[in-house]
Symmetry: C2
Subunit: 343 residues, 2 copies
DNA sequence: TTGTAAGCGTTATCAG
DNA sequence: CTGATAACGCTTACAA
């Protein structure tokens, strides 16, 4: 086992990279001095520090994160758990998170909590002990599961709230208000919410706020259940959408809005001529869909970045940074228009 | 430092999770027995093994991957480096890779090699020592940079070739043939390739193969440069596209195809009436864009999964698994039509 | 079948 | 300012 040749075979072609011991040996110093020089600049004689740095560069030294982690208990890795990579909303989230991680010197570890919690537990079991904390953007996890996770590691929720756990959630109230106001201006008096999955916190809350504002605007409001928060789910809801008699539909997300408006057109129902459709999130494609989708944009990339910053500040036991406002914005496109009195 | 209270404060609320020592102690066994029981089923008395497993579950034990890695040299983490998360092609890649990782008991670590190699080196420096190997789907990395990386860790390239490094690349030849054949059948005799970035291996090779087949089909072939492989890049190429006089455009990717065909419509040029547009990849949105895009689909999710499997087999020094054929498929939609003799 | 002990590469404490 | 030395949690000869 101490035989270098033996190690090499188990290592594949990965040459055993240099350690602080190697540096120490070639310089006739002690490993602890090397460690200090590399991590605590200034606490070591300037000249020796330089010699050490040069030697390190020479040998192509890179500190072994595992060894460091073993001692410090910190891996400088953050986990990101999302529920469904198929949904483009997560792209911006991932992107924002990855960017912030980089800036803060962290590495992003990735997991998709597909399907049931059972199925994914293997993934989470592997993920959790490897990271200093996790971002949870997993609508499918139950509150209990989340509480459990929060018991064993630092957690920041994204797009969801559970108890008092730290969470980054773009404003929902304002978005609902903007959407309803837009429809009101167009003369709609009868709207329906094409709901997301009942287990989804965000889907429920959007529905609630939409209801609030619709009522306040003196509108008729119906809630239409759906099979899944996807394009297929949106399309499949067509019958109930028609049956509702509403002149405007607020879909839980853009995926459903796209699916629904396409299904409408295929059924000979004009969007927005016969019916208006509003989505949420402003995902990739909402602008070039046919019709393009009027939507309430959520700054998910910012949310990802904010969540990372919050998590890191928690790890460092600092004051949380002043959370940037994650404001929502109505983007008006082709899928909404004047209410038709006919129908 | 041995004081538990002291540790707790540095740990935040993360309760110091149980170790094999804890299990050993509560059971009056030795740590090595516990380790064996958990990792080498069968090499320990069945009854004690059960006791150990129960105790482990009881204490909520999870093995510390860092500690294990320190000894074995294997972290069971794989890196995935992509060049630009903004491009939806990568979604499927990430998804496929994540899925395969799960199945094989690996964890996926994620990095975006945005911008120049300089900027990202910090990221890579952090990533490389933490993983057992990397998937490189980074068109922006130079061949030299890739060779360097391959010198220090196991590497599998995706959608690209460099020297003899292991690579997963969906068939290109067939895709080019399919696209050209489709246009030939529609009567096009004059086509142009809206090129991707010259540094991109895939962009160059697609151009070459397209040229081969266009020539073989007796077509006129022009290559149009572009600013960037994005929707904006596609739209910005409109002038040169018109100037080319080609009746059909083969865009380097769907993003460009979408951008171009939209720009055409806005300029009053009908797609496919006046000009046909073909894309590559079949990204999310290609089917609901307006017009929907005829495209050569690459199975990027399969590619991601295959790449992971290949990498893992290399790590285990096994025979590479019989690589599944990554076949390409022409998806005909609205953006292509009969060639117009006018123009 | 089980226990003992060494070592993986760091960091941190405590002397010199 | 620098050098021993003891952890960190786990695996694996080797011994019992």
């Amino acid at each position: 086992m101490t035989d270098p040749v033996e190690r090499e075979t188990t290592n594949g072609n990965r040459k055993p990279s240099a350690t602080i011991y190697d540096i120490a040996r070639t310089l006739g110093l002690s490993p602890s001095t090397v460690s200090r020089a590399l991590n605590k600049p200034g606490r070591v004689n300037a000249k020796t520090e330089k010699r050490i740095r040069d030697a390190a560069a020479d040998l192509g030294y890179r500190s072994n994160p595992m060894a460091r982690a073993l001692h410090t208990g910190r891996t400088r890795m953050l986990g990101l758990v999302v529920s469904d990579l198929t949904n483009p909303v997560f792209f911006s989230l991932v992107r924002g998170a990855e960017k912030a991680c980089n800036e803060l010197g962290y590495t992003l570890v990735f997991a998709e909590s597909q399907e049931s919690a059972e199925a994914e537990s293997g993934t989470l079991d592997r993920l959790l002990p490897a990271v200093d904390g996790v971002l949870l953007a997993a609508a499918r996890l139950s509150d209990e599961e989340i509480t459990t996770i929060a018991g064993s590691t630092q957690v920041v929720l994204v797009n969801r709230r559970v108890d008092d756990l730290p969470a980054i959630v773009p404003e929902i109230e304002a978005g609902a208000a903007q959407a309803i106001e837009h429809l009101r201006e167009l003369g709609h008096t009868s709207v329906a919410y094409l709901a997301g999955p009942p287990q989804s916190w965000m889907a429920r809350v959007r529905g609630e706020r939409l209801l609030d504002h619709a009522v306040a605007a003196g509108m008729t409001f119906a809630e239409i259940p759906s099979e899944s928060p996807t394009r297929e789910g949106g399309a499949a809801a067509l019958r109930r959408v028609r049956a509702s008699g509403a002149t405007a539909i607020l879909a839980y997300n853009d995926l459903m809005a796209i699916g629904l408006s396409r299904a409408c057109r295929e059924a000979g129902i004009d969007v927005p001529g016969d019916i208006s459709v509003v989505g949420f999130d402003d995902i990739f494609g909402a602008d070039f869909a046919n019709p393009s989708i009027t939507t309430v944009r959520s700054p998910l990339d910012q949310a990802g970045a904010e969540a990372v910053r919050l998590l890191v500040s928690m790890l460092d036991e600092e004051q949380a940074p002043p959370a940037a406002e994650l404001t929502t914005e109505l983007v008006v496109r082709e899928s909404t228009g004047e209410a038709t009195s006919s129908q």
